[in-house]
């Protein structure tokens, strides 16, 4: 454990200032782990390319989970891939977030009923922060998902214990 991480019961005026500064830093450098599972990955690449330009939000791809903050689960999560996704998630450095992109990773999508090999939602193995609907979602939808994640990070408490937040 870090020395001050989740150690305080009450909000502290100095600490709140520090927290908002940290949140600001974190939400503006959401580096995502570079892996795609299916056709959603094509939309993800389109979002990263010049027209939609992830880079203007400080969102850049990283090839190692050690350097990544966000995991975009872009596509169909098969049973075989699920254990790998869990391992990759665990190997990411904290704080870490997960964006579930597209119907397949949200709930199984078109494989919901007869997909014997598809995990019915990636939230069964990793905690998901933002669900982006669509099959596949348009780049705007993924960007919206990132904006929602930024909102979520803004309200995050870093030093306070979760249960003592009012």
């Amino acid at each position: 454990m870090g020395m001050l991480d989740k150690k305080y019961h009450d909000s502290n005026i100095i600490i709140v200032g520090l927290e908002s500064a940290l949140n600001w830093a974190r939400k503006n450098s959401l580096w995502y782990e570079q892996f795609g599972l299916a056709c959603c990955a094509i939309e993800m690449m389109a979002t990263a390319a010049s027209r939609y330009d992830f880079d203007r939000f400080g969102i850049i791809p990283r090839s190692s989970p050690r350097q990544a903050d966000v995991m975009i689960v872009a596509g169909t999560v098969t049973m075989k891939m699920a254990s790998r996704i869990l391992r990759l998630y665990e190997q990411m450095s904290e704080p870490r977030y997960v964006i579930s992109m597209g119907s397949c990773s949200n709930c199984g999508g078109p494989y919901w009923e007869h997909g014997y090999h598809v995990l019915k939602g990636v939230d069964k193995v990793v905690p998901v922060d933002v669900y982006v609907p669509g099959c596949p979602p348009r780049p705007e939808a993924l960007l919206e998902g990132f904006l929602k994640l930024q909102e979520k990070i803004t309200g995050e408490t870093i030093l306070q214990k979760k249960e003592s937040v009012k």
């Binding site: 454990m1 001050l4 190692s64 869990l86 391992r87 665990e90 190997q91």
Partner: protein, 151 residues
């Protein structure tokens, strides 16, 4: 009054303070929850196995070298084939000499036994009741020991 080395000392001390403060503040605010999977070697999500250092048999060197020679030969054959009609028999003779020289080299290499690939007999450990895991020459060693003892 500070000497020139005094200034250097000041710079070293200031640098150390800056680094120390940065590391200390990071230690204060960062989350630090290591677990077994997080500390595991990153291997694209797979479970890592074996050693990072992979050894190749150095006999591949000769194979690779020979491959390179014949590849270059083929590379030279392509432009030769394009201009073959214009230059005619001279081109044919030149290329024939070239290929023949390489062929001589190939024969020489075969004669030297460079392409012979002796495969050493692998040691296969196995389980013997009451003794444990042993090498496959376990019986021979046993017999030798018995002979030595009787002598």
């Amino acid at each position: 009054m500070l000497t020139d080395f005094g200034y250097i000392l000041l710079f070293i001390v200031t640098g150390a303070i800056f680094v120390g403060v940065a590391l200390f503040v990071a230690k204060l605010v960062r989350p630090d929850r290591p677990n077994e999977i997080k500390l595991m070697t990153y291997e694209c999500g797979e479970i890592p196995f074996g050693d990072a250092r992979v050894q190749f048999n150095n006999r591949f060197y000769i194979i690779g070298l020979m491959f390179l020679i014949f590849e270059v030969e083929i590379l030279l054959l392509f432009p030769w084939a394009v201009v073959f009609k214009e230059i005619g028999w001279f081109a044919f003779a030149a290329m024939f000499v070239f290929v023949f020289l390489i062929f001589i080299g190939f024969i020489y290499e075969l004669g030297k036994g460079q392409l012979k690939w002796d495969i050493p007999k692998p040691r296969v450990p196995r389980y013997v009741e009451g003794v444990g895991v042993v090498d496959d020459d376990y019986e021979e060693k046993k017999v030798n020991e018995a002979v030595l003892q009787t002598e």
